[in-house]
Assembly symmetry: C2
Homo-oligomer: 327 residues x 2
């Protein structure tokens, strides 16, 4: 297997946490190539990991598309080029999401026949199978037929990522009955119903309350709604967890009881922790591209690399290519 290209400079805790995660993955036998500045090894311990040199870094707050066009020697652009040129099997970044998408799209290109790539993100489901939600923000506006491709790509991702044999695909809307929702949803419902078959298990409309449940394995929506849903859940869970922690800390006695309860709460906490899943995947580009959360720790990077390896080994890109353009 070709090495996985890891953007050493992307994310709030770069390069330290990123390189540490890469080293941990390498220790488990996954081939890695770092992408970073020439002096990276003077800044952090990189072990004997190889390095693709890049002279520039795209910052978190830069406009993604513009930055990729201007910073042609950035770690993100070089990582995408490494995949394009057959030096790497996948790229991973916890940096600027827009720039990660743009570099993958502009350097790797789209899979033939794919209208638009989409970000497939993973929503944890306490006590159940996680839900794959796409698009989580690549396309603020979409057309109904793009949603059919999102459904196809999301199904392939769900199969390989979570081993779901026939993923249930729901269309996010505001009512379960066909015909509920805006014009886009009504048209997409028709197209998805027509496309349903052996490879696409379309179960109809689902609602917001189904996102964090076992109702569907894959939920398709436009990138505006998907991004709002993802961030609303992140914010909501954070508010609740903070509220609980405050309550637990409100007296020494409560603190003791809470500590005794920690082992029971740990599995739930771990399920809800975004780091558990290692990141989102940009589906529809001609190569594996994993987008990690900006706050990624060493563990999140390690998990993201693991996901990238799985997606490469399962040839998810090849499978999408065959599904979108059948012989």
């Amino acid at each position: 297997m070709l090495p996985i290209a890891v953007d050493a400079m992307g994310g709030d805790h770069a390069p330290g946490a990123i390189v540490a995660g890469a080293l941990a993955a390498a220790a488990q036998g996954t081939p890695i190539v770092l992408v970073g500045p020439p002096d990276l090894k003077e800044r952090v311990d990189v072990g004997d990991l190889p390095l693709i040199e890049a002279g520039e870094v795209i910052e978190m707050d830069e406009d993604g598309g513009r930055a990729v066009r201007r910073k042609k020697d950035s770690t993100l652009v070089r990582a995408a080029e490494a995949v394009r040129d057959g030096q790497a099997s996948a790229m991973i970044s916890a940096g600027n999401t827009g720039a990660t998408m743009a570099s993958a799209l502009l350097r790797m290109g789209r899979i033939k026949g794919v209208n638009r790539p989409a970000i497939a993100t993973i929503i944890p489901v306490p006590g159940g199978q996680p839900t794959v939600l796409l698009d989580a923000g690549a396309n603020a506006e979409v057309q109904a037929d793009w949603l059919v491709q999102f459904a196809q790509m999301g199904s392939i991702f769900s199969r390989h990522r979570f081993g779901v044999a026939s993923p249930k695909v729901g269309l996010l809307s505001i009512g379960e009955e066909p015909g509920k929702g805006d014009g886009l949803r009504k048209e997409a419902f028709e197209l998805l119903s027509a496309a349903a078959g052996d490879d696409l298990n379309f179960i109809g409309n689902v609602e917001g309350r189904d996102v964090m449940s076992d109702a569907a394995d894959v939920i398709v929506t436009d990138g505006f709604t998907g991004n709002v849903v993802l961030k609303t859940l992140e914010g909501g869970l954070k508010a609740v967890v903070n509220g609980l922690l405050e309550a637990f800390a409100s007296s020494p006695e409560y603190k003791e009881h809470a500590e005794a309860l920690m082992p029971a709460m740990l599995p739930l906490y771990s399920t809800l922790d975004p780091e558990t899943y290692g990141g989102a995947m940009l589906l529809g580009v001609d190569g594996v591209c994993i987008i990690s959360h900006g706050s990624s720790s060493q563990r999140a990077v390690f998990n993201a690399i693991d996901v990238a390896r799985e997606m490469v080994e399962a040839d998810v890109v090849g499978e999408i290519s065959r599904a979108i353009r059948p012989e």
Copy 2:
């Protein structure tokens, strides 16, 4: 004050919980008139509450608009007519949301100058001021200038409902910078910026993570996104609470510690409980219309009546009318 018309037959626990909530509110001095079938008092104890008779009931799963057109003698239609005809100061229902909207819209009518009524729902914020989110589902598709009216109406609601002197209004989008989002958001951002002033404290774009936070007092969006956000949060919180309860019940020892912690967790639980806020308000119709959750208990109905009374006393409808059509 004219009595508040309570739809005795709307909601999963009607008429029992509804009438019990109405009786509790009446005991506190709020004038009430029930709207229900002629034999209501044979089915539940209605005390000495007056009754407006209605021969039909709109079920939860009926199409709202169609049901209102067909069932002209339904409790919902009669409640809205009572407000229109000056027999009641407000209407409340925990029944079919679409039919509640339709009956209010068709019988009370829109406030002059209002493009479209919007559902203002209340998102709890642990440790902070709740956020008013609108539209939560009245309009699946909106135009940019409607969002400006939603901002105006939401500000008036926030002022009277929560006593916020100058409510911070955010436009829900997928990035904080101006120009982020789809075409609708870009246009709305311009219009909201132009409309900002003494009565409209527009703070710019907000993101999903700001919904359950103190970032904004009022968040405006289209009814599709708003409904998805509301239900996503409901589902997500339910999943987390269920996960916690399961963890707490997983051993007798854990159960004891959890019980000892309950007093500490109660304020958070109460904040997150949708019943605490009593329901959403349909803003822009020519009368006070409160839409309660279908699962409303006696306590939720009591709180909804309290909100209706406050909104009547504050003359929120008159204030919206003056704001939308200034002299």
